[in-house]
């Protein structure tokens, strides 16, 4: 039972990590908490569902389609809700509020377009179960875990070694200086937001597959969990998002398994508060980053 619950915790945690990766990318570069990320995630789930059921696409092309849709939404958000504010040098809170606006808009739009009912993927995708020594794990869970770890490694490598990654990091360090040094920061910012949103859209499909309930308000709870992980792991830190997500998932599952299920969220978030007392900058956060711009 302990091992099975650990697997449950890791799979739940890997979905949190997948969402937190998107938050952390945007925060790292723009220093903005993107409150619309949960809704882009929800839109991705719906787009994937429509591609898979209405257009009979395979689940991988549906995943790809959802990522493209996420990237498009991210581009639109950057152009319409973030860039105009950046030009005017407004208060740091303005982009936060503006992304909240985007999230409410997207949620209402989804209610109109897709209806309020919870929908699910046909069960053929989720039904495959592997049994290893009495432990049950579904194919989707393995895919989610593999994708989130894969993404973590790929993102880390890409940011550290490639030219574009370097310009993203330069922009994250200081936009003005990066500009002076010849980095096209506008392009870097658009790319980052699109990349994060594509990740969000893809996460939507995977989480939709794993839990099988896709509805317009699903972004809210998942969004909050992602935010908690962002803080827990350390703002803007990719490894932190990964580890933080897994920790939150395991904490939640174990508080049900070995405690009282009513206190599930209380235990999980109490644990985050405790960790933040010990390490205010998050598990992997560095102190210098806190000062920011």
């Amino acid at each position: 039972m302990f091992l099975q619950q650990l697997i449950n915790g890791i799979t739940l945690g890997s979905t949190y990590a997948l969402i937190a990766l998107g938050y952390t990318l945007i925060f790292g570069v723009l220093n903005i908490v993107n409150m619309a990320h949960g809704e882009i995630f929800m839109f991705g789930a719906f787009i994937g569902l429509i591609l898979a059921t209405k257009f009979n696409m395979s689940i991988f092309s549906a995943l790809l389609g959802a990522m493209v849709a996420g990237a498009v939404l991210g581009y639109l958000m950057e152009r319409l809700a973030l860039r105009p504010l950046r030009r005017r040098k407004v208060s740091e809170l303005a982009p936060l509020i503006s992304t909240i606006g985007v999230s409410i808009f997207l949620e209402s739009l989804a209610l109109r377009l897709f209806g309020p009912q919870a929908q699910s993927f046909p069960s053929i995708y989720a039904a495959q179960l592997f049994e290893v020594g009495g432990l049950k794990i579904s194919a989707v869970q393995i895919i989610i875990l593999a994708i989130s770890f894969g993404l973590m490694v790929a993102l880390r490598f890409w940011l550290a070694k490639t030219r574009l990654g370097k310009s993203i990091r330069a922009t994250a360090e200081n936009i003005e200086t990066a500009n002076l040094l010849g980095v096209d920061t506008q392009k870097v910012i658009v790319l980052t937001v699109m990349l994060a949103s594509a990740l969000g859209g893809g996460a939507g499909v995977l989480v939709g597959l794993a839990f099988n309930a896709i509805e317009p308000t699903m972004g809210i709870t998942m969004g909050f969990k992602g935010l908690a992980v962002l803080i827990l792991g350390g703002l803007g830190n990719i490894t932190g998002a990964m580890v933080g997500g897994l920790l939150l998932g395991i904490a939640e599952i174990f508080s049900v398994a070995y405690g009282v299920s009513s206190y599930r969220d209380a235990v999980a978030f109490g644990f985050i508060i405790l960790l933040l007392f010990l390490r205010p900058q998050g598990i992997f956060g560095s102190k210098e980053q806190q000062g920011g711009r």
Binding site: Q5, N8, G115, F211, A213, E215, T217, V256, A257
Partner: protein, 385 residues
């Protein structure tokens, strides 16, 4: 300076525009009101329903059941009904706003709804104080009609339905030990849990685990993994269909094959639609059974299917009956404005026979009616015999 004055002018003109819109809006609404009021023969009935959000399937069915009943009543021509719908989104404060609007602005004769028991506990006292008769069509929690003399319901309380399904399940599957799961942030589910617990104690079935979840949760792996290791003979679940469907799916996925006895939340075709094969073995007691050999039931199903292209569920059937009962009472009073008289007449309704069977209000304005215990078999609700 120049820019500032322009800005100021802009703000002033914007303000004026908003004002004009508001004034225009008000005046047009007023004239609309008058139009309806001057036509003295139409009874205005306000409906508060859960039309958008996670439980929208319930509200949608209720709306369709009411519309169908209203069409039939209006076609008969003895009384004219006008339904005014307001969406509560399943939230208490939205429901309060909705009844205030319906009572004070639309000046309705009576109210139908809201969809959830928690919402009724919020709006009931307000409506009762205003002296407006209100009838719940989907409220199953204890203590609803105790709110006041103006509060009615035609839905069977869980305290009458759940014990029947539990007893039947025990008889049929020889239950010795069971686990219970319920949503602890939902009034309906908490009350359902208490009734499950009480009934099980009475008939001598041991409860080996109680696990909770919350509305809108999607991951139930921890609770079900825990329950699976205890090997219960059945699982009792109190919650709404969305979570219930996910619980059924997960339970079957991790190899729990025992029957799952549900509360009123299981009473929706949506449960079967979302859970698919996993819904087989779900048990629920319902006054509504579409397979019943009854002319009224058959013609209702045919009319509903013709209008909405889908099968009616319990919520549609109960809403349909509720409006029919309301129409009978209005016809008897002969008035479309007298709320007091309508309340007194409603309380005496005794010999109505509707699609959910023979119906009468007891002295506490609760329904007395028969139930059928249903089990899902091959994706269909069938009678558990």
């Amino acid at each position: 300076m120049v820019t500032r004055s322009i800005k100021k002018k802009g703000i002033v003109s914007l303000f004026l525009m908003v004002l004009t819109v508001m004034v225009l809006g008000c005046s047009s609404e007023k004239s609309g009101n008058k139009g309806a009021a001057s036509d003295g023969s139409t009874a205005k009935i306000g409906v508060v329903s859960y039309l958008t959000g996670a439980g929208a399937a319930y509200g949608e069915s209720i709306r369709q059941g009411l519309e169908l009943a209203s069409d039939e009543v209006n076609a008969k021509g003895k009384v004219k009904l006008e339904l005014i719908f307001e969406d509560s989104k399943g939230e208490k404060n939205e429901a309060i706003n909705a009844v205030n609007k319906l009572i004070h602005k639309d000046n309705v004769l009576s109210l139908i709804g809201p969809t959830l028991s928690g919402e009724m506990f919020a709006v009931g006292p307000i409506v009762n104080q205003e002296g407006v008769p209100i009838m719940g069509t989907s409220l199953t929690v204890e203590g609803i009609t105790e709110i006041g003399d103006y509060v009615f319901r035609n839905s069977l309380p869980d305290s009458a339905a759940i014990p029947q399904s539990v007893k039947k399940a025990k008889e049929k599957f020889n239950l010795k030990k069971v686990a219970i799961m319920y949503s602890d942030n939902n009034d309906l589910a908490v009350s359902g849990f208490k009734i499950f617990e009480k009934t099980l104690k009475e008939i001598g079935v041991e409860v080996i685990a109680v696990e909770t979840f919350a509305d809108k949760n999607t991951d139930f792996s921890a609770q079900l993994t825990k329950i699976a290791t205890l090997n219960p003979d059945a699982i009792m679940v109190a919650g709404l269909y969305q979570e219930a469907a996910l619980i059924l799916k997960k339970a079957r996925e991790i190899g729990i094959t025992v029957p799952v006895v549900g509360n009123n939340g299981f009473n929706s075709p949506q449960l079967i639609k979302s859970a698919g094969n996993a819904a087989d073995g779900a048990i629920v007691a319902s006054p509504w059974f579409p397979g019943k050999d009854d002319a009224k039931v058959k013609s209702f199903i045919a009319a509903y299917k013709a209008k909405y292209k889908k099968e009616p569920d319990q919520f549609a059937a109960q809403a349909y009956d509720a409006l029919q009962i309301m129409a009978i009472a209005i016809e008897k009073t002969g008035s479309v404005t007298d709320r007091q008289k309508l309340r007194d007449t409603l309380a005496t309704v005794k010999d109505y026979s509707g699609v959910t069977g023979k119906f009468a209000f007891d002295e506490k304005r609760n329904p007395s009616m028969d139930v059928t215990v249903l089990v899902v078999k091959d994706g269909q609700f069938t009678e558990l015999k």
